[in-house]
Amino acid sequence: MLTLDNVSFSIGDKKLVDNVSASFQAGKLNLIVGPNGAGKSTIIKLISGQLRPTSGSINFGLENSSTIPIHQLAKGRAVLSQQIDLAFPLKVWEVVMMGRYPHFVTQPSATDEKACQEAMQFFDVWEMAKRNYLTLSGGEKQRVQFARVLAQIWTSEEGVARYLLLDEPLTFLDIHYQLQFLKKLKTLLMQRNLTVVGVLHDLNLVAKYADHVLMLHGGKLIEQGSPESVFTTENIYNVFQIQARLLEQNQTFHLFFD
């Protein structure tokens, strides 16, 4: 379990995250929504260790994140972000193997190679393992990154919790890959009991796939709970200043905007 206790983060006088408390369960997809500038990405960066909270604490299980060294943190916590370009040409498998870097010193073990292979097969990039990453299309590159990031937390020592953070990873993907990724992610997080916290922009995707939703506005937590309880026309109007209609269909619901 991942918990935030009264976490705030400010730059100068500006509070980007204002006294947010939340807890995220393992095996669940926890998604954060809110308008631009609400502090969503800042929260992901605080959890990932890129930024340190100005006050409050972030706990991985019982451990305060500020006491965990970065190389230790990386063994059980992976971050998936927007499209990444490389500075130099590398083969696809070399990129994926970077996900295993926290787990070996000089040479990858058989476990590391197996994790890479399985993660690549899971995201359908095994066939392009020997290709130059820089020659791939945008969608292919992002699938390689999925494989790299998941390879990082593919296996762990017995009883060690694993965390996955998503920082708008679907931004440049078409709708086919967006849906495919979320389906695969759901399978994985249940199989492997991952704690997943992420930011997605598309409210309908959030409504369809999230188990737990946090709604942020101006750095403050407005509401959290199931998608049904958070996505009310009133909340959406308050946060996004748009009128939405909700339509329930086949145990899921859709948002329409006027």
Partner: protein, 342 residues
């Protein structure tokens, strides 16, 4: 699947290294036969005073020079790999953060002041002045580019731009010294700024060898972190790299490599820039391969360049920096135009 088979490349580079080394022992202002080489080595191991003239030339001049080529080439090429990886930029070269222009200024200042005050310096004064200048310029770049920020790292762009500014400052310092200098000193400054391996002796070699070996051992432990940096600094943190510590370590190694090499042989350009590129074309960008390969290829190229510098105008000598630039520039332009990987 998870293997790149680097052995073949290492084997080819190893053979080239030995061949070019043997050539550089044999050819020069005078031709030395392999009998004389073997004789010189055997005699100097047993007792040194019975050496013939050519044997003495071999032991005291030719051999240290050939070894120095290998070591300096390895140092500069390795520094190039490290800096390109750190800045995630293929057109960065090791002198970028001020080290070599600072060293050039230190050496120029020594030539001018030495002539003015007529102090008779020992063999270590020039290298010391150069290394001091190099270290000073680099510390200045670090100091001016340092920023306190919430992020756990240094901005490489600030570092790069500060480096360019400080380089310009110290190069104008070199210009001023050449302007003030009388004729023989001005010639020394020019010659030193283009690099020469003619003054290298055994003491210098021991010094460069230690620096090279220590830096290689340190850098080898950082290859995974440097690979991770290819994804960007933020992603590197996500896979467990302490980016700020990595930056300081790599910059420190670079200063030691460049300052040591430059202090003894002057400014030699393009080796640090070209060698990593050639290796990337051969096999890819993994930094462990680049680091090991660059030590070999850097040594080979500098040995060949020095051979050319010695032979083209024999018995006179060209500054080696002219050879490396004349060969390096077209190769570099060719690579830029041919290669689409950026």
């Amino acid at each position: 699947m998870f293997n790149n088979h680097y052995r073949q490349v290492y084997l080819i580079l190893g053979i080239l290294l030995i061949v070019s080394f043997l050539f550089s022992l044999k050819y020069g202002a005078i031709l030395i036969s392999f009998d004389e080489i073997v004789g010189g080595i055997q005699k100097s191991i047993s007792s040194a005073d019975t050496l013939l003239l050519t044997e003495r030339i071999f032991i005291n001049i030719r051999l240290p020079r050939a070894i120095a080529c290998l070591l300096v080439g390895a140092s500069l090429a390795m520094a190039g790999v490290l800096m390109q990886a750190l800045f995630r930029n293929p057109i960065v070269e090791p002198g970028l953060i001020g080290t070599s222009s600072g060293a050039a200024f230190g050496a120029s200042l020594y030539f001018v002041l030495g002539a003015v005050f007529k102090f008779h310096a020992g063999e270590w004064t020039l290298p010391f002045a150069a290394a001091l200048g190099g270290a000073l310029a680099t510390v200045l770049v670090f100091f001016l580019s340092f920023q306190k920020s919430a992020m756990r790292r240094q901005s490489v762009v600030t570092l790069l731009l500060t480096g360019i500014a400080i380089n310009a400052l110290f190069l104008s310092g070199v210009g001023l010294m050449s302007y003030l200098a009388r004729d023989p000193q001005a010639r020394s400054i020019t010659f030193w700024n283009l690099g020469t391996l003619s003054g290298v002796n055994w003491n210098a070699i021991i010094f460069i060898a230690i620096a090279c070996a220590v830096c290689f051992a340190l850098a080898l432990r950082k290859v995974k972190s440097l690979n991770a940096l290819m994804l960007g600094e933020e992603e590197a943190v996500n896979i467990g790299v302490d980016v700020r510590r990595l930056q300081w370590t790599i910059l420190g190694i670079n200063v030691i490599l460049v300052a040591t090499a430059t202090a003894f042989v002057g400014v030699i350009s393009f080796v640090g820039l070209i060698v990593p590129h050639l290796l990337r074309l051969m096999k890819g960008s993994d930094n462990r391969f680049l680091l090991i390969g660059s030590m070999m290829l850097g040594g080979i190229l500098l040995t060949l360049a020095d051979l050319a510098a010695r032979l083209l105008l024999a018995p006179a000598e060209l500054p080696i920096g002219i050879v490396t630039s004349v060969v390096g520039v077209p190769v570099f332009i060719f690579l830029l135009r041919k290669n689409q990987y950026y």
